[in-house]
């Protein structure tokens, strides 16, 4: 099982949230593998990654994660900046006919309300 399949499996099984899965996939992205990964994920996830990449903070951001030290947060932020650049460059270089329509891509829009509270 590839890293991408494993992350998507965690999402399907409810082990992670959609945003967590998205960030985990992004953390795995490099300029070298971005095309391969974007082709491997479902279209709605690819569209979410494009939207996420468009909004990756360059600096002055906070890194959200429980039990995350500032040092580890800084490492994650740097990795995500690289991933964001990779996705944006990939989008910019993609033929227009390949742009997904983004159906159902707004992450969280169909998430059920909280249970048991």
């Amino acid at each position: 099982m590839t890293t991408v399949e494993k992350i998507l499996g965690h999402l399907r099984d409810g082990r992670v949230t959609r945003r967590e899965a998205l960030v985990a996939l992004a953390s795995f992205l490099t300029p070298e593998n971005v095309g391969e990964v974007m082709a491997a994920v479902p279209p709605d996830v690819a569209a979410d990654l494009e939207r996420w990449a468009a909004g990756v903070p360059v600096q002055g951001a906070v890194v959200i994660g429980a039990n995350l030290s500032s040092e580890e947060g800084q490492r994650i932020a740097e990795r995500l900046q690289v991933a964001g650049c990779a996705v944006r460059a990939w989008v910019a270089g993609r033929p227009r006919h390949a742009i997904p329509d983004g159906d159902g891509a707004d992450f969280g829009s169909s998430r059920p309300s909280e249970n048991g509270s």
């Binding site: 992670v16 967590e20 994660g65 429980a66 030290s69 994650i76 909280e114 249970n115």
Partner: protein
């Protein structure tokens, strides 16, 4: 030492007074736990401080907050009680903060509430609670 299951861990935590609400889910998911931590949740990455986070963004497909554990946590009753109590108290407080603000908080506020680098926040309080429970287990 045989690691226990998640269900066994939940029972151990409950035996020591840590009642886990139904909106929390614990799983072994080591790749989502930061270095030097035993557990994590809400690994949302970098955001502008004024980005709004919805409580719904903290939930999985089943409407639960997924908490990610390192396998080593399940090898020790003390670790189970400390980690489950810590995350339960932190997330309960976070949920109340979201609830008090129409289910939406800016990323900067979420950071302020859960960062281990800031004093006096939900994380710091959760550390105190977990430490106290472990001392109780040791009969002190």
């Amino acid at each position: 030492l045989r690691p226990c299951s998640i269900d066994e861990a939940l029972a151990i935590a409950q035996d020591h007074g840590v009642a886990i609400p139904a909106y929390l889910r614990f799983d072994l998911c080591e790749e989502f736990v930061p270095a030097n931590a035993y557990a994590s949740y809400l690994m949302l990455g970098s955001m502008e401080g004024n980005t709004l986070i919805r409580w719904a963004d903290c939930l999985n497909l089943h409407g639960q907050v997924p908490v990610h554990l390192r396998p080593g946590v399940l090898e020790s009753d003390e670790a189970i009680v400390a980690v489950f109590a810590h995350e339960m108290h932190e997330i309960t407080g976070l949920r109340a903060a979201f609830g008090g603000n129409s289910g939406i908080l800016p990323a900067s506020e979420v950071y302020r509430l859960i960062s281990p680098d800031l004093a006096g926040n939900l994380h710091a309080r959760a550390v105190e609670i977990a430490d106290r429970l472990v001392l109780q287990m040791r009969g002190r």
